[in-house]
Amino acid sequence: MDTLTMLLHGFSISIIPTNLLACTIGVLLGTLVGVLPGIDTISAIALLLPFSYNMDSTAALIMFAGIYYGSKYGGSTTSILMNVPGEAASVVTCLDGYAMAQRGRGGAALTVSAVGSFIAGTIGVIGLTLFAPPLAQSALAFGPPEYFAIALVGLIVLTKLTGTSTLKSILMVTIGIILGTVGLDSMSGISRFTFGIDELDRGFDLSLLAMGIFGIGEILTVMTESNTASKVPALRFRDLYPTREESKRSVVPIFRSGILGFLIGLLPGPSGTTSSFASYALEKYCSKNPAEFGHGAIEGVAGPESANNSANSATMIPLLTLGIPFCGGTAILLSGFMIHGIIPGPALITQQPDLFWGLIASMYVGNILLLIINLPLIGIFVQLLKTPIHILMPLVAVLTLTGAYTINNSVLDLTWIVFFGIMGFFLRRTGFEPAPLIIGIVIGPELEQGLIQSLIICNGSLTELLTRPIAGTILAIGSVFMLYHIIHWLINLKHRQKETISS
């Protein structure tokens, strides 16, 4: 009842004209970001961080959250119409969505994707509403050892879930942690690795890093790779909606994958992408016609898109209640919080209830707005895809660089963003995933602070750290996870050796 009261209060905040406008702008921009290949959610939020400096904090965060979950709606558009994923989590939608479009059922796929995203997104926000406050209460029992354990296990799990090479992901996370040590040490006040440059005392700005690696890096990649002309099929009005049969087949996958996506979203890692793949596998397993998957099965669109959106809402739980981002998207959202002087965590609900409940309520409102935007405006958004890359990318480059300059009014920041852009370009070409680097730079300082404080509290005794119930349990789960993957790797190695010998 108390939750319901607070939620209703949150609605009253979310429908304040300023906040409603911010939500509308956020979901609209998020959809655009999702539609446009070449700009991902992290880059979009990073690009817009400087815009928010003069905005009210609640409105700014509502806008960023809108971009975050809004991009999941837009990502399916290019996946279905052009076989080009708008963002990583929509890769799976290409498999059946594009096949449906080729059969003239593109509109139906887009509609099912939008409706499924709305329903599953709402499931996710309900879960966030119900589970966030109790989780926040229990989080008050967390101390430095527990935060250290969460940060460490989060890093361990993330390195396995991202990219194909575990070693590369571990290296990226470590490089991220290393970059996070540049600047003033929060514990001792000493300048580390600044080379006497005063501007480096504040460390590397996270938004600068993200804009460089993802924004400039992506621009360099797209502008220098050979392009193929994209063809967007024309849609008739009646093709916009699914048939009764398609609707009937979509219902169960939407709800089932919505719940699956929510559960996966509670775990560290790129839960959007992970949940969409897991959902695809689940729906194919549960389907009466598994052979249809890959050739235009509506379940192959409904499930992954639903899981993706539901996971998004769930990822907000660890961010809001524990203050720890479990994926790149919430990592950049965390930077948005920090820029506005807000520290998410267990105290957020009690210290800033208006912000917390306003944000959650805005997600309900945002989901409705997204449905309203996406259905009638599909045709218009598709026209944007016709913007030639050679015109779009230079404009995005200038927007990125200008945004970077506005952070600190420093030309040095422009140099850094170009440096990180070159780094992002080469990381992409050599199979190094940039997302773990972002996680490393965000969680690194938390990890360091938690570790040092834990060692001081436990008088240097690591065994005492393990005997703390919550920290010990979390570390044990992390150890089991690592052990499982080491054993799995050893078994695979043995099989490969046997195959080599037999051949």
């Binding site: 400087p50 400096y53 003069n54 070693l167 590369k168 571990i170 290296l171 470590t174 490089i175 942690i177 290393i178 040590t181 040490d185 514990m187 001792s188 000493i190 580390r192 690795f193 400039i216 360099l220 502008m223 220098t224 790779e225 050979s226 890359i389 050679h390 015109i391 990318m393 230079p394 404009l395 480059a397 200038v398 927007l399 660089l401 200008t402 300059y405 506005t406 009014n409 030309v411 422009l414 140099t415 170009v418 852009g421 370009f425 080469f426 990381l427 070409r429 050599t430 199979g431 190094f432 690194g444 990890l447 360091e448 570790l451 040092i452 060692l455 001081i456 008088n459 240097g460 005794s461």
Partner: protein
């Protein structure tokens, strides 16, 4: 080859970082200091880079990538560096106009009328947006 170069770059950077981190105080387990995590992170980065480089050297799997126009890449980088240099000298509006025009031509936009028009309109739009709407100080 590019993969090995990137890994070698990380290896060298990690060595450099570890060397600098060693100049900080490590402390003890009971009282860790500012060099505690940097030294651990540096050692980890060096070891992982070495392992990765060894794996890449032994691997016979060819790495396939989309073809890159390295000439275009070089010109874009030169353009970026010139933009940063000109930014404070000739001001945001002029520098952005020149940079956009340069990028449009690098990207093989045909003709001159469209790139000139787009560059002028876009640079003016961004200038107005940032300077007047967002009240940001621009050179």
């Amino acid at each position: 080859m590019t993969e090995k170069i990137v890994t070698s770059f990380f290896l060298l950077t990690s060595f450099g970082y570890l060397y600098l981190a060693n100049q900080l105080t490590f402390g003890t387990l009971q009282s860790p200091r500012s060099g505690f995590l940097p030294i651990l992170a540096g050692i980890t980065a060096v070891l992982i880079s070495l392992l990765l480089l060894a794996k890449q050297v032994r691997s016979k799997k060819p790495v396939t990538n989309n073809k890159i126009d390295w000439t275009k890449f070089s010109f874009i980088l030169i353009g970026l560096l010139f933009y940063i240099t000109l930014f404070n000298i000739i001001g945001y509006l002029a520098a952005t106009f020149i940079f956009l025009l340069y990028l449009f031509k690098i990207s093989d936009t045909t003709g001159w009328r469209l790139p000139l028009l787009l560059s002028a309109a876009s640079s003016a739009f961004f200038y107005l947006l940032f300077k007047y709407y967002l009240a940001v100080t621009l050179p």
